[in-house]
Symmetry: C2
Subunit: 327 residues, 2 copies
């Protein structure tokens, strides 16, 4: 099987490529070739016995998508995209990367011809939802995004469903919760503190908490997120039915509960590195985000998230800190 991963240089794309390389197979079928593409050069995953092709390119540019699918990958993970803050700062870049890039990929697949019908796993986001919300967001709650990023993801979900219905491809869109703990340096995203309050203290560094400990949010680890993508690739058309865009499960907890999980895993010393520094702007932004999802369909389809935030902290230690907490 030939697998194409877009956005393969990003955090999720890299972890996905590593997992595919390590597993060497998917649903019992050997992966013989991995095509990894992104706007910057993706790293080569280690330990893969098949061939790896890396393509550094802009998916939205003319002819690029057609070239990528001309070799007919049976499975496509479409992870590429511009993140929320960037799509809000630069409107044209966001629509170009997130909407036009996806549309270029879907149209290129359509244009290959009748016999080609790949599985396409698309990373959508819970940013497709916009306040006001009910206590818990059900699987049939409408999409009223309050960011351009969420708008673009919702538009792509619709197109993916239409192209699936028409038989050009077998699509499945996954609305990811907040991915936590994100490794790497702190970023400027308003959501950055959800990861920073775990990652920075674990690394022995101080960090700030800009919101109240009562703030409620839903999280999944990078490992669980990659697991969602792999699980989605194995779902049959029949199991999915016509509603192919699905809200993923996660651990719903308060910031206070996140901090208590950190204390259980790493002790009081780690927790002491979190300094309260309320930021009214961040508090306002976060108040507009969804808190809790029912995700009944996803659970019924076998998608599995962590069962506690403690588990999310431990996965970060295992996957990103080599299994040990620095002194």
């Amino acid at each position: 099987m030939h697998v194409l991963v877009t956005g393969a240089a990003g955090m999720i794309g890299r972890k996905l490529a590593d997992r595919l390389a390590r597993d060497g197979a998917l649903g019992g079928t050997a992966i013989t070739m991995l095509t990894l593409t992104d706007i910057v050069e993706p790293p080569v995953p280690s330990g893969f016995s098949g061939s790896v092709r890396r393509v550094t390119t802009d998916l939205a540019a003319p002819g690029v998508a057609a070239s990528l699918v001309s070799t007919r990958p049976e499975l496509i993970f479409h992870v590429a995209g511009v993140v929320s803050a960037e799509a809000e700062m630069d409107l044209e870049k966001g629509y170009r990367a997130n909407l036009d890039g996806t549309r270029a990929l879907l149209d290129a697949i359509r244009c290959v011809g009748e016999a080609y019908r790949p599985k396409v796993v698309f990373t959508s986001s819970c940013a497709v939802f916009g306040a006001p919300f009910p206590e818990t967001i059900d699987d049939d709650f409408h999409l009223t995004p309050l960011t351009s990023y969420g708008t673009q993801k919702a538009m792509c979900e619709l197109m993916l469903a239409d192209y699936s219905r028409r038989g050009f491809l077998d699509g499945v869109g996954l609305r990811l919760p907040a991915v936590c703990v994100r490794p790497g340096p702190p970023n400027k995203a308003a959501s950055g503190f959800f990861s920073a309050i775990i990652r920075e203290p674990l690394a022995g560094r101080e960090t700030t908490l800009p919101v109240s400990e009562a703030v409620l949010h839903t999280h999944a680890s990078p490992r669980a997120t990659v697991g969602f993508l792999i699980h989605a690739a194995g779902l049959s058309r029949e199991a999915l039915g016509p509603r192919i865009n699905i809200t993923m499960p996660g651990v719903c907890c308060t910031v206070g509960e996140q901090i208590e999980a950190l204390r259980r895993v790493a002790g009081d010393a780690a927790v002491a590195r979190i300094r309260r520094a309320p930021d009214p702007l961040v508090e306002t932004i976060v108040a507009g985000w969804p808190h809790r999802f029912d995700a009944a369909r996803a659970r019924a389809l076998g998608f599995v998230a962590e069962s506690s935030f403690d588990e999310i902290v431990r996965i970060h230690v295992e996957d990103d800190l080599g299994g040990r907490i620095p002194d």
Copy 2:
């Protein structure tokens, strides 16, 4: 005030232009100029004292939308689009006309510059909904269209909301129910019989009914539909709030109730011209359509539909048959 109407040669566009010309004003402000555009030449509405400019052009073609908004119309009714059956038959044409045409218009408005922020009234459709449905579709039910037409309308709704949120324009999207009674010759749309079973018998012609009399559907007259558009143009940003796409009200009734309304208005002889000819294909298509809408937000915002199907039949007689029923 300068008003631009796209799709001005279509059934709703023509009736809207006639109403604007007849009223000569909107919300107490005189209409000094009407720009009417469509892919075929729109008719000149009669009795208008201001100036009328007709532009026969393709909205999705490069530069066209920019040219149309360069004169800064304060109010834009965006009615243009390819209908459901055509968008399903010709995928590229549908995406081009319905998605790219709308996007071209919205981007052209954005590019005019900061001081320009027109009101944009967009005709969406209840085709944005897709089965399975609850008994009544609430205002917060999700959009899972089962046609490319519905997909394109839903994508445009999202973009309209995003561009409104960002302050480029003041958008409002109206999800229209079935427009009934449609004047003119029968068309090939699967929904055509809802109008034909009223229009054809009233004109002394026989017609066929392809579905059971138990089929439930929601209707609004062309006159009420034009009324929705006019009412939407007068809504303030504050009244609308961030959720600018609204399901319109209508008369929900069975085909049997439609026929009894015809009997009350036009007698047994008219009803006798309806011949039962069940068509399994049409029955299947119609079964996938939504039946009943709550439309609570629209009603609260002052949108008014007919109160009975009898009224819809009488409006057809008044507006399209010159007030009298042929013998």
